[in-house]
Symmetry: C2
């Protein structure tokens, strides 16, 4: 983060119905995904091309990329191939990759997710490589023993976990904001769990390998959550499309500029639609918006 | 369920390192997954063959199959293809398919998961079909607005959701058993959410299209959770490998024999390892164990 002077995470939520026009052109001309291929193959080619173009345009201004798994899964096996291609393109560009998968499952299944994203899978046919991401978002509803296998797999691979603590959607209040009889909210309980799980994984930077997702839409909670997790990297969605802007995010950066990751996706990818007049070059608008965000956040907290 | 006289859900958690020997033979001889193919292709072929064999052996005794997504995801795109093949084989056999994905995400991403599992995805290249399952397990930590898009997509397709309310792992106590200041546990709050979401989807059977996962390992909670969700189908993992047996599951079946789905995976698939002496035919042992469970549960509650 220091060398790139950026805390911006480029969210990739590709919608086949809303890709950059150039991506559709590229997919149409490609042999594998040509006009006679099934719709799903062509859509997956177009999604991969779109992500490559977005990375080329805005990647330089960012420190990480965050593919939303749902958007690739809806394209089945070809979608997973497009995801793998996108992960590989991002890593070639020197970007970290955060798989936004929000996984969470019990023991043996959690171990399988750890293999899928971090460590790979042993088989009688040889080792099967993982998706090879740097971090994974995880859902903690199933408790500590469901997170531990993910932490272990990540830690062994030099990777990390970002645990949902307080999400940015209105419905987060339904469960995460509930007050417990013993005091504090569910989110605060989750924050303490993040802190405990991450403690053995604090690096020379002072940051742990278990971080948290804490929506930028609730800055008033950020300070108390940060107090529970002094060493956690906080992923802050909701900056662009959803609202929050600047100063109120300060607690995220208390441990230093790398304490907070500011996620933006549609705000960057569809920046050209908000231009005056709208309709300019998507790549140029995306680069400019990513640069604006990078400077805004780095200027405030570095 | 009435016509099959079965409440048994066959869990498929294929581990490439622990497949039935016959599946390895089949994968070795297959052209697509032959000896020169990459490890991941061969492993995915073997996993698909294993699932087909398990379905052929034990499917007849069951009412549904429950593939664990993590086990397929760790094989990347070929794993997703093996999953699609397994789903299709199960449906051909007349089994319902429950994708054990435990998904949960905000608005636009939840909608994308709904497309992935239920409704399919519109694209400029034509409609992209979904995985085509009958039900999906979902994680409710993100609240009502994160579940609604999944309920809607499922309902439109005549499919359902099974929401995590009280899981069967020890760590479930960390969050789900927490008592709220307003009274009741987190699980009870989730049960009420399940009931509300499912109410518009109650069919002529009296059962709703939003059900719950309530581990059979905590039968003492089953009665109070059932009281909150009188119309929900309860998926009960933990019967075989994890412990619970019979009578204590009665509250699950209060609305009738279809009120409870009893999930078993390793108990059936690895039944041959527990034989006396161990090492008999895996298919025969699986069929026998599935039949035993079917009769046990149907006998108690039908």
């Amino acid at each position: 983060m220091a060398s790139r002077r950026s805390q911006i995470v480029l969210g990739l939520d590709p919608d086949p119905a809303r890709l950059w026009p150039r991506a559709l052109e590229l997919a149409g001309g490609d042999r594998q995904g040509g006009p006679t291929a099934p719709a799903v193959e062509r859509a997956a080619r177009a999604v991969a091309a779109h992500c490559r173009l977005v990375l080329e345009a805005a990647g330089e201004e960012c420190v990480a990329v965050k593919p939303q798994m749902a958007c690739f899964e809806r394209l089945g096996a070809p979608g997973w191939a497009a995801l793998a291609e996108t992960v590989s393109a991002a890593r070639t560009q020197g970007l970290m990759v955060i798989a936004d998968a929000k996984r969470g499952d019990i023991d043996i299944s959690a171990k399988a997710y750890g293999q899928a994203f971090f460590s790979g899978t042993p088989s009688p046919f040889g080792h099967i490589p993982s998706l090879g991401v740097d971090a994974l978002t995880a859902n903690p509803l199933l408790g500590r023993d469901a997170l531990e296998p993910l932490v272990e797999a990540g830690r062994a691979a030099g990777c990390g976990l970002l645990v949902l603590v307080r999400t940015s959607n209105p419905g987060a209040a339904d469960v995460q904001d509930q007050e417990l009889r013993g005091g504090g909210s569910v989110s605060r309980l989750l924050a303490r769990l993040v802190d405990e799980l991450g403690r053995p994984g604090i690096g020379h930077s002072g940051l742990a390998d278990v971080g948290a997702v804490t929506g930028a839409t609730v800055p008033e909670r950020l300070e108390s959550l940060r107090a529970e997790m002094p060493n956690a990297v906080l992923l802050l969605p909701g900056i662009g499309a959803q609202g929050a802007t600047g100063r109120e995010l300060a607690p995220a950066f208390a441990p230093g500029p790398a304490g907070g990751l500011v996620s933006a996706s549609r705000g960057i990818v569809y920046a050209h639609e908000r231009g005056a007049p709208p309709g300019g070059d998507p790549a140029e608008a995306a680069r400019r918006e990513a640069a604006r965000l990078r400077e805004l956040v780095w200027g405030l907290y570095a």
